[in-house]
Amino acid sequence: MTMTQAPPPAPPMVAPPAPTPRRRNVPGRVRTLTGATVAALALLFTALAVGSSSARDGLQVIGRDAGPQVVATAGLYLALSDMDAQVAGALLMGNGYADRRADALARYESRRSEANQALLKAFQLSGDDPAERRTVQSVLDGLGRYERLAGQALLLDERAGHAPGPPPAEVVATYRQATDLMRMVLLPQAYNLTLENGTIVRRTYDDKALMLPLLRAAVVVAGLLALGCLLALQVFLARRFRRVFGPALLVATVTTALALLFGTNVLSQDQDALREAKKSSFDSVLTLARTRAISNSMQGDQSRYLLDKERADTYEHTFLDKSQSIFYVPAGNLETYQAKVTQGETKALGLLGPELVGPRGRDVATAFAGFQAADADLRKLALAGRVNGAVAARLTTSTQAFDAYDRAVVALAGQHEADFERAIGRGENALDNLWRLLPFAIGGIGLLVIAGVWPRLKEYR
């Protein structure tokens, strides 16, 4: 490239009249150089095409398949877990809260139809993954059985006409079968579907995080080669034909340089978009979806604690266990745990640990402490033998505290979901622009090379 400054008068050409073999050699060399240039350009555009379709593929899998699947399966978990929580609530109300019982049953029905819709969607989105399809099918089968058992428990409960609090033993026995099916068979499968989509996203991301920089490097190498060939061609033509400028080839060179810059820029933008979508948005969306799923079932655990005396200890332990998986502070029993959490402990391990940053994160921490405080009150009433008061607390103060906490989690998740959408959209936009301009660049550069070389070759006809 340092030869670009070389002056046109080439000494060996001036003195003797060029011999015939040498004259025949010139068009040959022009053709070779042109061929090399075209090949390098083809390499450049192939690398760009491969790189950008790889990025497109990553954005598609992360942004349009697995991302929405996480939302769909988390919705499935919520609907299922809330169905069971509504049944437990209705059984607890007895004949004391006719209106609320009707509300709970209506909500049970609407959650059931949500669950069915979410299952259909999950099946649709599962593509041809056989394990995922088997899981969806198994949840569908189990849901039928659950509805039958829950229906029986509700019917027996209505006939018993008991006071608010634990229903008669046969109702509890039937409900146990229903809730065991839900908690041990159906909910875990829905939860694992959500996790599986997290796996798909991680694999795609790791794959792209390795491939995109390589493809970008390939684009740079091919682009520099193409530029080198174009310059060599021009230097050769300038020396052989004593023309300082070939305007067509000059424009082709500039266009190639621009395509190279723009292309590598788009690829690195997409790399950034994928990183942001995965690391700072998707991971949080997934974590918060899991948090919300686990939290919702804790409300059911409160009702089950109140309605099944024999298993009350098991359900209390489950409540503590879930609380600690969400927000971990070391504590040997629920009382100690709640004392620590409600005293404003904000540093914690567990799912929520890394998410509790920013004002919305702090809202979640406060609301979680509020929910735990309400739960502590409820358990105190139950231990003091005031079943009516405990049931009332479950249906009023505790529900309100839970709803406030749930709203805070949804708000925090909404922020990350919006960031996720934005990052994916930005990546796709950059690619769209590249793909719109690429055909023109290829066509234009091709025509310019022909326009630059053809007249020179014609001189030898």
Binding site: A36, A39, A40, L43, A131, R134, T135, D180, L181, M184, V185, L187, P188, Q189, Y191, N192, L195, G198, T199, R202, R203, L210, P213, L214, A217, A218, V221, A222, L225, D283, T287, R290, E310, R311, D313, T314, H317, T318, D321, Q324, S325, Y328, P330, G332, N333, L349, G350
Partner: protein, 269 residues
């Protein structure tokens, strides 16, 4: 053109090599042979026989997982206190040894699974009628060195039982039969295995009071390995192996096998 390709290839290779070299500790996915630690001391769960080979539910699960991952497996023994250590110092790649998932352990170890949900339960003489943990109030229960199961009754559940210390479960069982204690409490599969080996009619209360998620321990950071193990666990339940193995080892023990289903996973991240 050849030179162009050669240069590109060399560059790609150099970058790829750099990318791999900067990676973290190898995943079990990248190995052909793996070492799995199992318990040598729990009948029907993880037990070393006189000839030095292992048998039990955990052992069969370990072999199944290795086969699903396409690995050649070597088993090694690990007692309760050694389970973290063998993973951290690299002697084992995986731990399948009634390893209960908890938040403290998660700081050191990555858990795949759980592959089984067990509960804390009560083992009693045939003439007793304990139905749940509250029935232990005022009774004598065995406290085994190094296990916190008995304290969980008195502290976590706040049941005023009397703790009587012993060195190991063998002594506990003798004390139970000779009426020095009234109950032995720990993980239900451990109790089921002990009762079957004992064969004198001791039975489980099926009180199921503390849920214990039994997971597969992996080195921290081995996310791809964890995800593969989780998929293998789903297969183990979907193809009926889990049910077969649970019935094979605990079918006659009185352990409640009414619901056998894939547990809710802990998640690999």
């Amino acid at each position: 053109m050849k030179r162009v390709l050669a240069v590109t290839a060399a560059l790609v290779a150099a970058l790829a090599a750099g990318g791999c070299a900067s990676g973290e500790a190898a995943s079990i996915v990248d190995k052909d042979d793996i070492v799995i630690a199992v318990r040598p001391d729990l009948p029907s769960v993880g037990f070393r026989k006189a000839d030095g080979t292992f048998e039990g539910f955990d052992v069969d699960v370990a072999r199944y997982l290795a086969r699903k991952l396409g690995k050649h497996v070597t088993l090694m023994p690990a007692l309760a206190a050694d389970r973290d250590k063998v993973l951290l110092d690299g002697r084992a790649d995986m731990v399948v040894a009634t390893y209960t998932i908890d938040q403290d352990r998660k700081a050191k170890v990555l858990f795949a699974g759980p592959y089984h949900i067990s509960y804390q339960d009560i083992l009693m003489r045939p003439d007793e009628t304990f139905k749940n943990v509250r029935d232990l109030k005022g009774r004598r229960i065995c406290q085994v060195k190094g296990s916190n199961a008995a304290e969980r009754v008195t502290e976590e559940r706040k049941v005023a039982a009397q703790l009587v210390p012993f060195d190991d479960y063998a002594q506990c069982l003798e004390a139970l039969k000779s009426r020095q204690v009234d109950a032995v409490t720990t993980n239900d599969v451990i109790l089921a295995g002990l009762a079957m080996r004992d064969g004198s009619g001791l039975r489980l209360a099926n009180a199921q009071f503390n849920e214990q998620r039994t997971g597969v321990g992996l080195r921290k950071g081995d996310v791809p390995g964890c995800e593969e193990v989780n998929r293998a666990i789903i297969d183990m339940y979907q193809d009926g192996t889990a049910s077969k193995l649970l019935h094979k080892w605990f079918g006659k023990s009185g352990l409640n096998l009414g619901t056998i289903a894939v547990p809710q996973f802990e998640g690999c991240s």
